[in-house]
């Protein structure tokens, strides 16, 4: 009852504030939206958790309900102004994700990871692109294009749809305090798959641009991708060394230092066409596997303080979901989402059989590939900017599929983690204590 009353009170205050400056934006808009989204997401998560659903679903629902396409308590401009929060959150998540990848411990799983990346991730790109071509009559903007152009655009969309969400996976692993072969495999695959998707999207998008506009500069495209990936890895190593030095020689205020680094990387990286995700992922991998410093010191600080970041990040993802668009494109969205999930399921089964993976991986790993959030939306945004004539419609389609996956996949992944028996096997760190909480059943 208390969460409901608090949600009503927060909504009332937000509505009252909206009557003050309905037409004028103020400098405090993003901060107000940040606090409001954080609190509403938290209390919505508490409510949803009572129904045995993942809190993550509550965070996303809160974002959808209070966002610009439902109650409009948070305006589109405010969600846009919080882009920086999303960027910094992505950098923090990437750094934590990279620092979780201990190459020594995933080496035995490498065969499974490689097979899943190939069969499930790359396989899903092909399946979704094919599906888009087949259901072309249901998608007006694809239907209007000649077959060759439609195929090229479907290819680019297929790659974008294959994008997964390390953030969702990490949030659920954190929530269920899971550890084990399944958890490690899923996390490794989604992190590696993100890199694969970034590289392949660059190629697919360049090819689609060439086919649609009739002009392409192969050398420039390759140069751009090489700069984005290799440059990001190079800078990532430098950032990793900087954090390592800090851990070794200062070792005070490590969390603050790392957050500042994430802020700088998120701001500057995007401006120079580097990928902050790859930079911080590389930094994390460097810290965990090649540095003399104890990366756990950094991970613990982030682990404990990550909840507020996740709350706002996912509420923002929900707030961007245009329900009207989802309703308009309901059938193609449902078909693409189903084809994507089916491709992951089939690909994972084949991969598990070929790699001799454990039964838990064979049965449940595909569910870890289904969630989508930041990267898919970023690629869709890129598509919107690249293809002026139909970019908006392509964006809407991606948004619809991401929305469906956001709503359903966390629930399924949570069930999978619980059934695998890996939940509650990880130590949780509490921010204010600074001590490890005893392992136990998930909250």
């Amino acid at each position: 009852m208390i969460p409901i009353l608090l949600l009503l009170a927060l909504g009332g205050l937000m509505h009252a504030a909206g009557t003050f400056a309905a037409s004028s934006a103020t400098l405090a808009g993003p901060e107000l939206a940040f606090g409001f989204l954080l609190l509403t997401a938290y209390f919505a998560g508490s409510l949803v958790a009572r129904m045995s659903m993942p809190r993550l679903t509550g965070y996303i629902i809160a974002g959808i309900v209070v966002g610009p396409f439902a109650l409009r308590l948070v305006e589109q401009q405010q969600t846009g102004e919080l882009r920086m929060v999303g960027d910094v959150a992505t950098a923090i998540i990437a750094l934590t994700g990279g620092a979780e990848l201990e190459l020594k411990s995933i080496r035995p799983l490498f065969k499974s990871i490689r097979a899943m990346t190939f069969y499930a991730v790359i396989g899903s790109m092909v399946v979704v692109a094919g599906t888009l071509l087949v259901i072309r009559p249901l998608i007006p903007f694809l239907d209007a294009l000649p077959l060759t152009q439609a195929a090229a655009v479907s290819g680019a969309l297929g790659v974008a749809f294959a994008a997964q969400s390390p953030a969702v996976v990490m949030a659920l692993i954190g929530e269920t305090r899971a550890a084990g072969v399944l958890t490690q495999t899923i996390l490794s695959v989604v992190v590696i798959a993100d890199l694969v998707v970034v590289v392949l999207y660059g190629i697919a998008s360049a090819a689609a641009t060439a086919v649609v506009s009739g002009q392409a500069d192969l050398a420039r495209t390759i140069g751009g991708i090489a700069w984005e990936i290799l440059g990001s890895i190079g800078i990532g190593i430098f950032v990793g060394i900087a954090i390592e030095r800090f851990l070794l020689y200062v070792n005070r205020g490590v969390g603050l230092f790392a957050v500042m680094v994430c802020f700088v990387v998120a701001e500057v990286g995007a401006a120079v066409h580097l990928d902050p995700l790859v930079i911080m992922l590389t930094a994390g991998i460097y810290l965990q596997n090649f540095s003399k410093a104890d990366a756990h010191h950094l991970i613990d600080g982030f682990d404990a303080a990550s909840l507020p970041v996740y709350l706002v990040f996912f509420a923002l993802a929900g707030a961007k979901l245009d329900l009207g668009v989802v309703r308009q494109l309901a059938l193609p969205v449902a078909l693409v989402a189903t084809a994507r999930a089916a491709a992951f399921w089939a690909g994972s089964k084949v991969a598990a059989r070929r790699a001799g993976a454990s039964p838990a991986v064979a049965r449940y790993a595909w569910l870890g590939l289904v969630p989508q959030a930041g990267l898919a939306l970023a690629l869709a945004e890129l598509m919107r900017r690249t293809f002026h004539d139909f970019g908006d419609k392509a964006f809407a389609l991606v948004l619809g599929v991401v929305g469906v996956n956001q709503m359903i996949s966390p629930i399924l992944l949570r069930i999978a983690i619980l059934r695998s028996g890996e939940a509650g096997k990880r130590e949780a760190h509490d921010f204010a204590d600074g001590d490890a909480a005893p392992a136990g059943p998930p909250p």
Partner: protein, 499 residues
């Protein structure tokens, strides 16, 4: 290629621009690392202590320098655009500090303060306020830097006066670590309470100097004062209810963080002072019966230092170090403040001195450091209405540095540390007559806002009905933030409780 093809964006990447930005990034990161190392390294902190530069600004000077460096166009990390984008973060920081300061205002403790203290605080704050504002205002008019008819000029004077009115301990150990309690000198009490002057100053500045905008609410300044107070009360009640829901510390952090962001965001959205609104909320939460008070203080303590350092970095980034006119005001600010202090102390002694307990307000210091809140004050000034002025930042930072130099020159020599464990000292009783060995007692000088008489948690033995403290002076060698793990100002029973 045909003309009817859809347009595509094929804008190439400029490799030169990218390379330049990378160099900036590298320089920015390196500067961050080197200066953060210098500022946080234990040896550097010890050296600072030995040299007597442990004040608000001196100890945090590497971070101000960091701000100056990263704001340079050649570095381009904290550019005007980035600072603009950081405004929400600054609002949040102001709200956080306001909440901390408000949360230390335990009215039950203030009930035990002798009669006349409120007058003492008022006079000792108002005199430097008036003297500094008048002197700086006259100088600005004489130098042609302002017009008396300009409302921003009056706003800036109020901010300067308010910055001058507040004082800080000579050794700054954080906002949350200097709550007055029985046994501490009256200077601590005054330093804590005159920060309320700063909060009130901001409350009025934000209410009466509002930007011209076409908003849904058109209210007179007085009404905005009441809106601020009402908003603070509502946020306080909400926080009071919200902190009962979390079940883990991580959740608790999220709720406290979100509550303060929401409160300061609402204040900023309405062009009110986040610091003032959250101060009211913090005072309310602390003074309600609340089991979660200790947990709130733990969280507040965790983020206080980063926020303080952030303010120092931003202050450095907005510091126009080559603004000659502002520098001309710095010595004037310092001299006017000292004169104002003298006038305030003199007036207080002549009027209420006889009513106060013996030794309670003797040996008052004329040269005291500027409160760390003064930095927050000028940063808050960037967010309130009217045209933005940068000269007050220069004046306040310059004056803070100059003041701390003067403080270190005029400070009495520190007594040598005892090799044997310090004796257990008894806090004065409610009458506030100093106990033997306590500052203010015969033969023991009242320290001039030095935290060296800081007292640790109470022992579990109480004599004569009063709490007993152990002097933890011997631990003071460590850096400031070592204190953050001590459970915060609240102690086992909240701020000023049974410590």
């Amino acid at each position: 290629m045909t003309t009817d093809l859809p347009p595509v964006d094929t804008t190439p990447t400029d490799p030169g621009r990218g390379a330049r930005a990378i160099i900036k990034l590298v320089i920015g990161l390196t500067a961050l690392m080197v200066l953060a190392y210098l500022g946080g390294n234990r040896k550097v902190v010890r050296l600072q202590e030995r040299l007597g530069i442990s004040g608000v600004i001196a100890a945090g000077f590497p971070f101000i320098a960091l701000g100056v460096i990263v704001a340079q166009p050649g570095v381009g990390v904290l550019t005007g655009d980035v600072l603009h984008k950081m405004q929400p973060l600054l609002h949040f920081g102001l709200g956080w500090l306001g909440f901390i300061i408000g949360a230390q205002l335990d009215v039950r403790l203030l009930d035990r303060v002798p009669a006349g203290t409120a007058y003492l605080i008022l006079v000792e704050a108002l005199a430097p306020f008036a003297a500094t504002a008048a002197a700086c205002g006259a100088a600005m008019l004489a130098l042609g830097g302002a017009k008396w008819s300009d409302s921003a000029f009056w706003r800036d004077l109020i901010i300067l006066g308010t910055a001058a009115a507040m004082t800080a301990p000579r050794r700054f150990r954080g906002f949350a670590n200097r709550t007055w309690r029985e046994g501490r000198s009256v200077d601590h009490l005054l330093a804590q309470l005159d920060e309320i002057v700063g909060v009130v100053g901001l409350l009025f500045v934000a209410a009466f100097f509002r930007p011209d905008l076409q908003a849904g609410w058109q209210l007179p300044g007085t009404a905005w004062v009441f809106v601020s107070i009402g908003l603070g009360v509502v946020i306080g009640v909400l926080i009071f209810a919200m902190v009962r829901v979390p079940r883990s510390n991580a959740e608790f952090l999220a709720v406290v963080l979100g509550s303060i962001a929401f409160g300061s965001g609402l204040a900023g959205y309405l062009f009110l002072s986040p610091l003032a609104v959250c101060f009211i909320a913090g005072a309310l939460v602390t003074n309600f019966p609340c089991d979660q008070r200790d947990s709130i203080f733990k969280i507040l303590n965790q983020l206080e230092r980063p926020i303080h350092l952030l303010f120092l970095i931003v202050a450095g980034a907005t510091w126009k170090i080559f603004d000659a006119r502002a520098w001309a005001l710095v010595p004037l600010f310092v001299v006017a403040r000292i004169l104002g202090k003298w006038l305030g102390i003199f007036t207080a002694e002549r009027t209420v001195g006889g009513q106060l307990p013996q030794g309670y307000a003797d040996h008052r210091a004329l040269v005291t450091p500027l409160s760390a809140l003064s930095i927050a004050l000028v940063i808050n000034a960037r967010g309130v209405g009217g045209p933005e002025t940068t000269w007050i930042t220069t004046v306040v930072i310059g004056a803070a540095v100059l003041n701390e130099i003067l403080v270190s020159i005029t400070a009495p020599p520190r007594p040598a540390r005892a090799a044997t464990p310090a004796p257990i000292l008894r806090a004065p009783t409610a009458s506030l007559v100093p106990a033997p060995g306590m500052p203010g007692a015969d033969g023991v000088p009242v320290d001039d806002l030095d935290d060296d008489d800081d007292l640790s948690e109470p022992t579990d033995v109480a004599h004569d009905g009063g709490p007993v403290y152990r002097d933890d002076d011997a631990d003071d060698d460590d850096a400031d933030d070592d204190d953050h793990g001590r459970g915060g100002p609240a102690g086992p029973a909240g701020p000023g409780g049974a410590r």
